[in-house]
């Protein structure tokens, strides 16, 4: 398991699991660094299957949406798949409000995320 300052990355069973380390807020002050760490974890992978686990994340700003979109785009350019899971209801509501739930595959649990990869 690799631990960057803000995320932990585990490569297991053919997929990459990303958790946030001691992060209940994804906002302007930290999201750009987090995005760089995520992209570093994805780069070099062939057809990466990535799960980002949002457990304990309680706040998210529009900057975080933008960063997730960049990560999503990087995964797609590598012909990979991205799943978001364990998103708290208030944050999920923001995804729906911005219609970004149409761009991302959001599932309830980590297990269902892994099961959904094709």
């Amino acid at each position: 398991m690799a631990v960057s300052p803000n995320i932990s990355v585990r490569k297991t069973d053919g997929h990459i699991r990303i958790d946030f380390v001691d992060r209940n807020v994804l906002d302007e002050l930290n999201i750009h660094q987090i995005g760089e760490e995520m992209i570093k974890a994805i780069d070099g992978e062939i057809r990466p299957k990535v799960v980002i686990v949002f457990r304990n994340v309680e706040h998210m700003s529009s900057a975080a949406f933008g960063t997730l979109m960049k990560v999503n785009e990087r995964v797609k350019t590598r012909d990979g798949q991205l799943r978001l899971c364990h998103i708290q209801p208030r944050i999920h509501e923001a995804f729906v409000m911005t219609k970004l739930n149409r761009l991302f595959t959001i599932v309830e649990t980590y297990e269902s995320a892994v099961a959904s990869f094709v």
Partner: protein, 142 residues
């Protein structure tokens, strides 16, 4: 009892985005906690504050280090009134493309104003458009 006990007033000149957010968020959140705002309200207000301050520095002031952002908050048990003012020329929020339209959905930026409007009870951009006034009213319990 003095009025001060019933109202939190906070006014600061923010000179830097990072320092500004680090200064404002704890002050506002402490007041929200004191006046009994629930987690949903805290989420909404934190989001609106963040978006407005980021927009002021990034778009209003164009990240010019010589320019400041002024932040004002008046918080009581019924409502939160926030004003954020930058030193830019102002803008017309009606000119911002709708980020929920299909052709804009994949653009990674441009959602801040939309989120502010979605979560606040009242949003007003004051002429010439470099000052935003946002109000959050605590829902009346049924």
């Amino acid at each position: 009892m003095s009025n001060a006990a019933h109202t939190f007033r906070f006014e600061r000149t923010l000179r830097d985005l990072r320092e500004g957010l680090e200064l404002v968020h704890p002050a506002v959140e402490g007041a929200l906690e004191k006046f009994g705002y629930d987690d949903g309200a805290k989420f909404a207000i934190r989001l609106a504050v963040e978006e407005a301050i980021v927009n002021a520095f990034r778009h209003g002031n164009q990240l010019d280090p010589s320019k400041v952002v002024r932040f004002r908050a008046v918080i009581d048990a019924r409502e939160v009134v926030l004003e954020i003012e930058d030193e830019g020329p102002g803008f017309d929020p009606a000119t911002i493309p709708d980020p929920t339209e299909d052709e804009n959905l994949e653009i990674p930026s441009g959602r801040g104003v939309m989120l502010i409007r979605a979560y606040m009870s009242e949003v007003e951009y004051l002429p010439p458009g470099n000052r935003v006034r946002m109000v959050f009213r605590k829902p009346i319990a049924a």
